[in-house]
Symmetry: C2
Subunit: 488 residues, 2 copies
């Protein structure tokens, strides 16, 4: 796989000049075509041997293309608030919009490559990292993010010669980094690690390209050719189903239908219990242990089930500096230009903080499914994507709790009527609400399937009867308080 | 000023009920009208005596209005990366778009109020803080952000009674914070501090309202009335000229006309000098001392002056993780919904980092002035606003360096022609460029006035002849390296 690159092929100035001119025109042309169509993001992952001239190759892409639509995204070891969120958070956060190109230094491969360089690499870690990367890239690809990965490679001799040439003059010596000088000792390990990584993560939708890097002109041409081929590719390559759509096998239980909706709480009991639960929540959220955890609350349910009221009862016990409420409605143009989970990744809280979603990423398998806003292949895939997302949240220290506030159709009708009559509640009822109501059964089926497929140990669903608002609010608080007290 | 509030007025349930109904309808109505017009942002600043029920009042606003268009913005003491930027950065960053409402806890008044509570307040600090606040609020107001400030107040007796009432039951005791319990001892100092703050910062465009808070219903009604009056206000109140438009007095020197454009560097000297300067820059940017500073580079100049090439020569010496290039063109809809400096505040670097602006906030007094995109009163005001912005940057540890790359009209013409001919440079030339060229003199006049009014000690302009690109690139690097070596 590295044989060609380790032969250190080179390109003469005479051969390079006409190639350069052709490639520059073609790259610009391809870049503007993409911008005009704005159908895809391109991510160029940069990896390889230190001192192979990765930085120079990226500078060249910026010079040859219109740099206004290229963003270099460079990452070091995780630090500060990055450590308080899933490892992939920073890549999600910076994802460029469709039509644009991101060049990624210090990508999601960095920890994996580091592991392969150890004297005794841990195979379990390597396998887990490879699997996580494959899932991540498959989801990006399926959502319209194109990925190519460049491995800059050269022989040990050429690497050493390049460093020495640069070191020979004070005009260039500063270009040599300490890492470049350590390559010689570990050259073989770097090659075998690279081989392993490339073999395990080379896919049609996110292919690796080995760039021979001993000769500057060869490196330039091969880099440009790889990027150009990616930009010109039309259509979506066949994507390995990292997140297979669920087979019909899982039994979908009619949990909404089987729920007991009769529970009630009288006003005195409610007021007393509410205060006590809020007190426990206030203490838990202010506890020292919570500073190393975070809390993600998801509220879903039929229209008029009382999500807003339940959320307010939670937030009244919290310090306003501690939480964010994200009301989720139709995505903005900025959000539509990225994979659908992007806007929720932006809301991932750091430690000590609470993120409350009033509706959520489950819109994909609820309203988008029922209203046919998303094709079945996409929303079917979303169950596994969502489970993976929530698993990453939980693994980074987040407590993830999801609530479905369930009401019966007659109660919804009564609440709609009441809202229409109230001069300060009628803003809460729109023609959309009536239209959704007509699709009651379709929404219930979607909710039941969602509950069956995404009720996981690391992010459980709590199905709460909300025909009595007081009962529902107390139940929500109780589940939160129990989970926090249990975990902290 | 606090006499009414310290009399602890109350409102009976009978008087409250009809008022509540009327206020809720009116608030919702006013909120939707604003959204429809989307002409203004409303900021509600919350301050006052601890334990007066500020939190409860804000909860009530969220309940009475449509909470999807209200954002509670709560801040504690500055921490983490907030400490590495100007104190106002976090408020700029979170500024809601037009049509929306932000409720601000822990606002820009917090440090000022804290100072007034000290045993021996420092009058210089107080005056400086008041002046900074007045400038900030005047600019926000002039840019379409409406501000009202609520001071929640009650008698010492009522404050104590409220805390004791809450403490009496486990259902409510958790609502009492340690700060609430400390109020009694310092009550008089809090009142005199509050009086001072309100007196010095009460303006027609950002007025203070004292909210009597002993009685829950009175507090609710007065809070709602203050917000409602603000939402209903039409037109812009007379704004005190915190940033007066400059009088004609400053002599505008024709610096562009007087520049010596003949300087040249031959290729050998250039290559050698470039490497040496890049080496010095690389060392300075990686130095330990730079980790407590930041660098802001602004590039302006005529079209085809070579800004992009100069920027690349700078970034080639830098670690890709260390800098961000912000190319500035016409503002997006998200940016148009905020004061014009908002998008640049978003790019303010934290310590150890470098922000490079390819065009900048100076667009306000260049292209926006010449193309008449902004009325004269606004761009005239911008000189002082920009100076204030840059002063805040410098005070927070940023080195601010500004470059005007200057070319003569004949050189521009030659470069335009060359770009048109080159198959991979013609993307850089558009009909706009030719149109701008027709306004050469108007742009030169705008640039000269800008140089005269914004060349400050804390953020100097470097006027660089760029008829010879090599000379210009070396000059830019030299200025940066000299400034960094001098300051670090």
């Amino acid at each position: 796989m590295f044989a060609e690159a380790e032969a250190d092929p080179s390109l003469s100035k005479e051969a390079f000049k006409p190639l350069e001119a052709r490639l520059r025109v073609a790259l610009l042309d391809a870049q503007y075509r993409r911008l005009g169509q704005a159908d895809k993001t391109l991510l160029v992952v940069v990896a390889g041997i230190d001192g192979a001239g990765k930085g120079a190759a990226v500078n060249l892409l910026n010079e040859w293309m219109d740099p206004r639509h290229i963003k270099t995204l460079a990452y070091g070891p995780r630090e500060g608030e990055e450590l308080e969120r899933p490892a992939l958070w920073r890549y999600w956060k910076d994802l460029p919009p469709k039509g644009n190109t991101g060049i990624v230094f210090g990508s999601w491969y960095a920890p994996l490559i580091l592991e392969t360089l150890r004297k005794k690499p841990n195979q379990d870690i390597i396998e887990a990292q490879c699997a996580a990367i494959m899932r991540f890239e498959a989801m990006l690809a399926a959502e319209g993010v194109q990925i190519i990965k460049l491995w800059f490679h050269l022989s040990a001799k050429a690497q050493k010669a390049r460093a020495q040439r640069l070191l020979a003059s004070p005009e260039t010596a500063w270009q040599v980094s300490p890492a470049d000088l350590k390559v010689q000792k570990k050259y073989d390990r770097i090659c075998s690690g690279g081989r392993l990584v490339l073999k395990h993560t080379d896919t049609p939708h996110a292919p690796w390209f080995v760039i021979p890097s001993a000769d500057e002109q060869m490196r330039a041409v091969r880099t440009a050719e790889a990027v150009l081929a990616a930009m010109r590719r039309r259509g979506v390559p066949r994507i390995a189903p990292a997140f297979p759509a669920p087979a019909g096998a899982t039994r979908i239980v009619n949990r909404l239908g089987q729920l007991d909706y009769s529970a009630q709480v009288d006003e005195d009991e409610y007021e007393s219990e509410l205060g006590l639960l809020q007190g426990r929540l206030a203490r838990a959220a202010r506890s020292a242990k919570f500073r190393a955890r975070s809390l993600v609350l998801v509220f879903e349910g039929q229209d008029a089930a009382g999500k807003g009221g339940a959320i307010r009862r939670v937030t009244h016990a919290l310090d306003a500096r501690q939480f964010d409420i994200t009301p989720v409605s139709a995505p903005s143009s900025e959000e539509l230009a990225r994979p659908y989970l992007w806007r929720f990744w932006r809301g991932v809280p750091r430690h000590g903080r609470i993120a409350i979603f009033d509706r959520s990423w489950y819109g994909r398998v609820l309203v988008e499914r029922v209203e046919k806003l998303t094709p079945p292949a996409k929303w079917r895939r979303a169950y596994a994507e969502i489970n993976d997302f929530e698993e990453q949240l939980a693994a980074s220290g987040a407590l993830v709790l999801k609530f479905w506030l369930a009401i019966t159709a007659d109660v919804q009708l009564a609440r709609f009527r009441e809202r229409e009559k109230s001069p300060f509640k009628n803003f809460k009822i729109t023609p959309d609400d009536w239209r959704n109501r007509d699709k009651w059964d379709a929404y219930a089926a979607a909710a039941n399937e969602m509950l069956a497929r995404t009720d996981t140990a690391h992010a459980p669903w709590h199905l709460v009867s909300a025909n009595d608002k007081r009962y529902a609010r107390l139940q929500v608080l109780r589940h939160i308080v129990d989970a926090m007290e249990d975990q902290l």
